[in-house]
């Protein structure tokens, strides 16, 4: 979504502020910059702006591919804001949004805290660090669809997780994880945490390694214990990267689909149906493309609004 920013942003920050003060040299530099970025801007126009306009156009009609007409003729099915009214009054839509937000509110902080804890651990030295480091990063490399299938197998009622629980509890455990609404949601969230904690870990570790060693030592000499060092030296220095990591995961989790769809296809019923799964179903099963276009636009606006503070905050720091 971030690439949809206005093309002005491609000019160097200092140059766009005072055009009156530019001399010939600067103007030439600026013109060259424009020429060099022109292909990219044209490309962006095609892959971002064109589909956006198309979406907007379709969302204002009741056109579906079943009509057998090209989308260009959608104006013949003009419906005004009907799709948007439908969206506002559709309980299934709001439930899927609520579920997505719930997953976000639980998973992102858990991933953040786990990632931060691991990053703090890996910023120090311990035996077998390299080995554990590689192991830690593996979930991130697994294709989400494969991860979905993996957790699908793990959470079968006769699967390894129940086997382990049986061994631990001494009795036979056969929980139907993926068939019970709340457990299915929990299972899906566990899979997400498993797969995306490493990304948090990696981003935060990069941040931690950027904290100057001598400042930490100086803080220690001045009497700061681990907590004060973290609060006064480490945290302010990784705050930016922390917020970026949060923004990335918040946006990404809003789009959670593949792992989840393979594990539960949004079921049982609609109990794990997130907004992406909902959109997928409406698109592929109900073929209500104009309604989907309306949903997509609304989500784009919401996500942009969520990401804007983070982007705005770091734009000057480039």
């Amino acid at each position: 979504m971030t690439i949809a920013q206005s093309p002005i942003d491609f000019a160097a920050p200092g140059l766009s502020t005072q055009p009156a003060a530019l001399n010939a040299d600067e103007r030439a530099t600026r013109r060259l910059g424009t020429y060099l970025t022109l292909p990219t801007q044209i490309l962006l126009a095609f892959i971002v702006i064109f589909p956006l306009l198309m979406e907007l156009y379709i969302s204002l009609s009741s056109w579906t591919p079943l009509d057998g007409r090209n989308w260009l003729y959608a104006y013949r099915y003009w419906a005004g804001l009907d799709n948007y009214w439908e969206l506002i009054s559709n309980a299934r839509f709001w439930q899927s949004i609520g579920r997505t937000l719930f997953i976000m509110v639980v998973c992102v902080p858990v991933e953040l805290l786990l990632g931060l804890g691991l990053a703090l651990l890996f910023a120090g030295e311990f035996r077998g660090k390299r080995l554990f480091y590689s192991i830690m990063l593996m979930p991130m490399m697994v294709v989400p669809a494969v991860a979905g299938y993996m957790f699908f197998m793990l959470f079968q009622s006769g699967g390894p997780i129940n086997n382990i629980l049986s061994t631990l509890s001494g009795g036979a455990v056969s929980i139907a994880w993926l068939s019970r609404p709340n457990l299915a949601l929990a299972a899906v969230m566990i899979a997400d945490i498993w797969q995306w904690t490493p990304l948090m870990f990696l981003i935060l570790l990069a941040g931690l390694l950027g904290v100057p060693e001598d400042q930490l030592r100086m803080a220690t000499l001045l009497g700061a214990g681990p907590w004060w060092r973290f609060r006064l030296i480490v945290l302010p220095r990784i705050r930016a990267i922390l917020l970026i990591a949060l923004a990335i995961r918040t946006i990404e989790i809003f789009k959670v689909f593949d792992t989840l769809y393979i594990m539960t296809t949004g079921g049982p019923g609609v109990s794990t149906e997130t907004i992406s799964v909902y959109i997928y179903k409406v698109t592929m099963e109900d073929l209500q493309w104009s309604y989907v276009a309306a949903i997509a636009l609304v989500i784009l606006v919401v996500l942009s609004a969520l990401a804007a503070p983070a982007i705005k905050r770091f734009a000057p720091a480039r």
Binding site: P212, D214, Q215, R217, M218, A219, T220, L221, L222, G223, A224, G225, W228, L232, I233, P236, R237
Partner: protein, 366 residues
Amino acid sequence: MAAITLENLSKNFGAFAALKELNLEVRDREFVALLGPSGCGKTTTMNLISGLLHPSVGRILFDTRDVTPIPMDRRGVGFVFQNYAIFTHMTVRQNLAFGLRVRRLPPSEINRRVGAIAEMMQLTKLLDSRTDKLSVNILQRIAIGRSAIVEPAIFLLDEPLSNVDAAFRQVMRTELKTLQRQFKQTMVYVTHDQLEAMTMADRIAVLDQGILQQVGSPLEIYNHPRNVFVARFIGSPGMNLLNGRLSAENGQTFVDLGPAGRTDALPSGLARAAERAQSANVLVGVRPEDLECVDGATESGLTLVVSFVERIGHRTVVHLGAGAQSAKMTAHSTFVAALGSALRLRARAAGLRLFDRSSGLALTLE
């Protein structure tokens, strides 16, 4: 109140011995400079005192308390790093307040003490500015103030003046000394600049290759170097060391310097020390300023050939040679001598020192 005692301190990094069996006592409120070339172990010594490093062997005592096992955050040692390690994401005020804040002092007390230290370090006007754009001279003041604010009994400074400009360095030399008197602290100061060590320190500890060469007051070190390393290292240029052979004549002792000639008769003290020499082969030490030109007519004296003339402004350094021997002499800025011309010189008897050629140790009466 804090004296520092380093007992038999050694530090190895793998196979490399950075510090070998250092024994050093720093008295309460004393200003001791650790002086030596790069890699001599002076920074290692500081890191051991502060607790940044743990000694391989030996103990560190503050007064009579063994602090060797105490971690650095509880040793309470003030330390100014060579690069200052200013917290660049904080303002000057936050930097200064750091040590008090982590000690959970009440804000009013923190404010009062930050104000006082800022006054002393002349940082009052800058208190609320960001630290990432300040000059090195100011960063250095912040670094000192930040460590001083918690009033540590022991203050360590690791080459704090090596990054600042020459004019400011001169100001800071006197200022640091004044500060130390104000704070009533025991100060250990690392430097490779002998001028800093000579001007500020009560005593200087000269280190080389991890071994303590000599400890003493600046003049003691300058006038009575214990071995040839200290003799060469201290002074600019360092002490001349000429190969010679002891010879006696009419009850007087001389040193024969081969093609360069012969010294005057040694003063009685030095002559008695010379009697204790293991061998007649010695090194004669004489400071460049203790060489003087004499009238060509005198019989005794040295003859050396001018090989190079270095003009520094307020004085002239004359490079001299005779056979394999070489020496330097400092003269007045108006001194004139043609390259290749022979000079008749005399070494002032009071400035003569003798060293054993094989051990490199000074011959003294003990």
